[in-house]
């Protein structure tokens, strides 16, 4: 079925991302928006847009019936779910398919299989893809456990089954220290949780998050688009991603990508997906599969030159992908940073405000995927991600320095963002050295604190303030009406209350 009109069941940057590919393919787009989002570009940059009314996310972007009704009414014959929201919801994908509309995503059975985090691991293990070595069984005999620990290889982590918060957790460095630590972990488990059952796992000291971009059609073509490294995370959320990964040599890269293809082949997968692995010292272990387009997909597009959304649409139309694996190559280096409305120096607390301006850059191969425009308000109702900034360069070193420059230029006026924090990470010597482990922001927390301003820095800031304070700015007053005002006066006014 040729897809001619797509309803995008999402908001903000990913909705705009899908619109851009649809335009190139001559496909009409339909967007949906909650009333609180009606000023955001996704509410008006499509060919048609419909309001989901007021209310919580459940009433709006997760309202399956309403969204399907809009799809039918608008005559869309394809639904793109983006990421998050309904992208991995099989009830929704079935409803869409049953209405005779193409769901631009995998079949429901694939989503269900990978949605079961324990079940999927068992399946993947069966086809010979490595898991983090461990013992999670019922046999608690000390000699037996010692033997299992030896098999896993040291260091080994002993965890109280019922545990949490570090209690009943022991890291064992060598075989001779196993029994004493086992006894201690069991005692702690019993004292803290009334249960002395333990489990064993390989302790990873330098783990990295490496994932492989997958794309399969319905004609038996299971392709990979190489890896992304997303080890820089805060609170389990990715902040900086890059491709290729500095940690992989050609041989390991081939192995990890082939392992990923083995899984999509086995599932007879269809569409875009991401195979996530934990990687340490040349070894990789399967973590999970995401059965959707990923936030960080642009870096893969930058290094391979393929438009992943276009491929998704082609696959959902039932077309055969005329791409051979050997046609897909990684060229150069790409980095993405996620610009969040948050204050990294205040415990990553979300920030709010009205975006009064977004900086511009004239550099080539810099891409800003954002769902906000000047004079739009950022509230705490949705995810704090404002934008993704993506750069491409010939080498990693060049890409880092280009990203630092781009971050200087892409300012977000009107609210605090993590922009400076991202620069501190990128400028860190360990980041340059490629020592990008998932513990990065914790280990280097001290170095990532804001730099102390010099007298000259302060003088520069003061000069700007003084130079602009009496100028009428074209900025909104925080409430989006475009009243002109003076920064200094507006402060005084507020303080006079």
């Amino acid at each position: 079925m040729k897809i001619t009109k797509i309803l995008i069941a999402n908001r903000a940057e990913i909705a705009l991302r899908v619109i851009s590919t649809c335009k190139e393919m001559g496909i009409k787009t339909v967007t949906i928006f909650s009333e609180s989002d009606k000023h955001l570009p996704h509410a008006y940059l499509s060919d048609e847009s419909y309001s989901l009314g007021e209310g919580t996310i459940t009433d709006t972007y997760l309202n399956k019936e309403k969204i399907l009704e809009i799809a039918k009414k608008s005559g869309a014959n394809g639904v793109h779910p983006g990421y998050g929201f309904l992208s991995e919801n099989t009830t929704f994908s079935k409803m869409v398919t049953e209405a005779g509309i193409a769901f631009i995503g995998p079949r429901p059975d694939s989503i269900e299989m990978m949605g079961d985090k324990i079940g999927s691991k068992k399946v993947v293990e069966k086809i010979g893809v490595p898991m983090i070595p461990g013992y999670h069984g019922d046999n608690q005999d000390a000699a037996f456990l010692q033997n299992e620990a030896n098999k896993i290889g040291y260091p080994v982590l002993i965890k109280a089954s019922a545990g949490g918060g570090g209690k009943g957790m022991r890291i064992v460095e060598k075989e001779s220290e196993f029994i004493e630590n086992l006894d201690a972990a069991k005692r702690e488990g019993l004292k803290s949780f009334g249960d002395d059952k333990v489990l064993l796992e390989k302790y990873l000291t330098e783990p990295r998050h490496i994932e492989v971009q997958m794309m399969s059609d319905n004609h038996g073509n299971h392709l990979h688009f190489f890896e992304r490294e997303c080890s820089i995370q805060r609170r389990y959320q990715k902040v900086i991603e890059e491709s290729p990964s500095i940690a992989l040599d050609d041989k390991t890269r081939k192995e990890i990508c082939e392992a990923a293809v083995k899984i999509t082949k086995f599932m007879n997968y269809s569409g875009a997906g991401t195979m996530e692995f934990i990687f340490e010292k040349g070894k990789f272990f399967f973590l999970e599969m995401n059965t959707r387009l990923q936030v960080e997909h642009p870096i893969t597009e930058m290094v391979t030159g393929f438009d992943l959304v276009k491929l998704q649409i082609l696959v959902a139309s039932g077309e055969k992908l005329n791409i051979r694996q050997e046609d897909i190559k990684q060229k150069g280096h790409s980095i993405e940073v996620r610009i969040y409305a948050e204050d990294p120096d205040q415990g990553f607390m979300p920030t709010i405000g009205t975006i009064q301006g977004i900086g511009k850059t004239s550099m080539k191969n810099v891409r800003l995927d954002t769902g906000f425009a000047p004079n739009t308000e950022v509230t705490v109702n949705y995810d704090p991600m404002l934008a993704k900034l993506i750069v491409w360069s010939e080498t990693r070193t060049e890409a880092i320095s280009k990203m630092l420059k781009a971050l200087d230029e892409i300012t977000y006026k009107g609210l605090k963002t993590n922009r400076d924090y991202l620069k501190r990470i990128l400028a860190h010597k360990s980041f340059h050295a490629g020592e990008t482990y998932t513990s990065f922001v914790k280990v280097h927390a001290k170095d990532l604190e804001p730099k102390v301003l010099t007298v000259e820095d302060k003088a520069k800031l003061l000069a700007v303030f003084v130079g602009l304070e009496n100028k009428v700015s074209s900025v909104g007053s925080g409430k989006t009406e475009s009243a002109s005002y003076n920064v200094w006066n507006s402060i005084k006014e507020f303080r006079n209350v």
Partner: protein
């Protein structure tokens, strides 16, 4: 003109003089002379010892955001002492959010622990309570207003 400002929360005393072509800043016993190179709609291009940089400002509720080259800082007019004392008696927003409900009006008598306002933040409702007995001197926000974290919401006096 001698001035005081909170720069990233730190009290900063400085002196500034401006001509159509220059800005002079005196700070911590040092003098900095900036050339005004360009003056666009809402930007300024300055130069210090021939090094050019771009400056911009934006308002952020009660504060100002200032960009200078690769620097970004928050400016705030310092509160005077009397005000600061008043404010210290009032309850403060625990995090940024939206005022969902205002339960008191100016002049109301309140007891310690009375609910004053409900703030909606991080998808939860937070009741803002009076920290002491007193009289509501001023409700600083109305329903539907967005507030930053750490901002006084209601002034309470004796």
């Amino acid at each position: 003109m001698k001035r005081k400002i909170l720069l990233n929360g730190l009290m900063t005393e400085f002196e500034a003089n401006q001509t159509p072509t220059h800005i002079e800043i005196m700070l911590e016993g040092q003098k900095f002379l900036f050339d005004k190179k360009g003056n666009l709609e809402d930007q300024i291009i300055l130069s210090l010892n021939s090094v050019n940089f771009k400056g911009e400002t934006a308002s952020m509720y009660s504060q100002s955001q200032v960009f200078a080259g690769n620097l970004e800082a928050v400016f705030e007019i310092p509160k005077n002492k009397a005000k600061a004392l008043d404010h210290s008696a009032g309850p403060v927003s625990p995090m940024p959010g939206k005022v969902f409900k205002v339960m008191v009006k100016n002049g109301d008598k309140v007891k310690k622990g009375d609910g004053l306002m409900i703030l909606e933040a991080m998808k939860m409702e937070h009741t803002i309570k009076a920290s002491s007995d007193g009289v509501v001197k001023k409700v600083l926000f109305k329903e539907g207003d967005m507030v930053l974290g750490g901002v006084t919401l209601v002034e309470i006096g004796n």
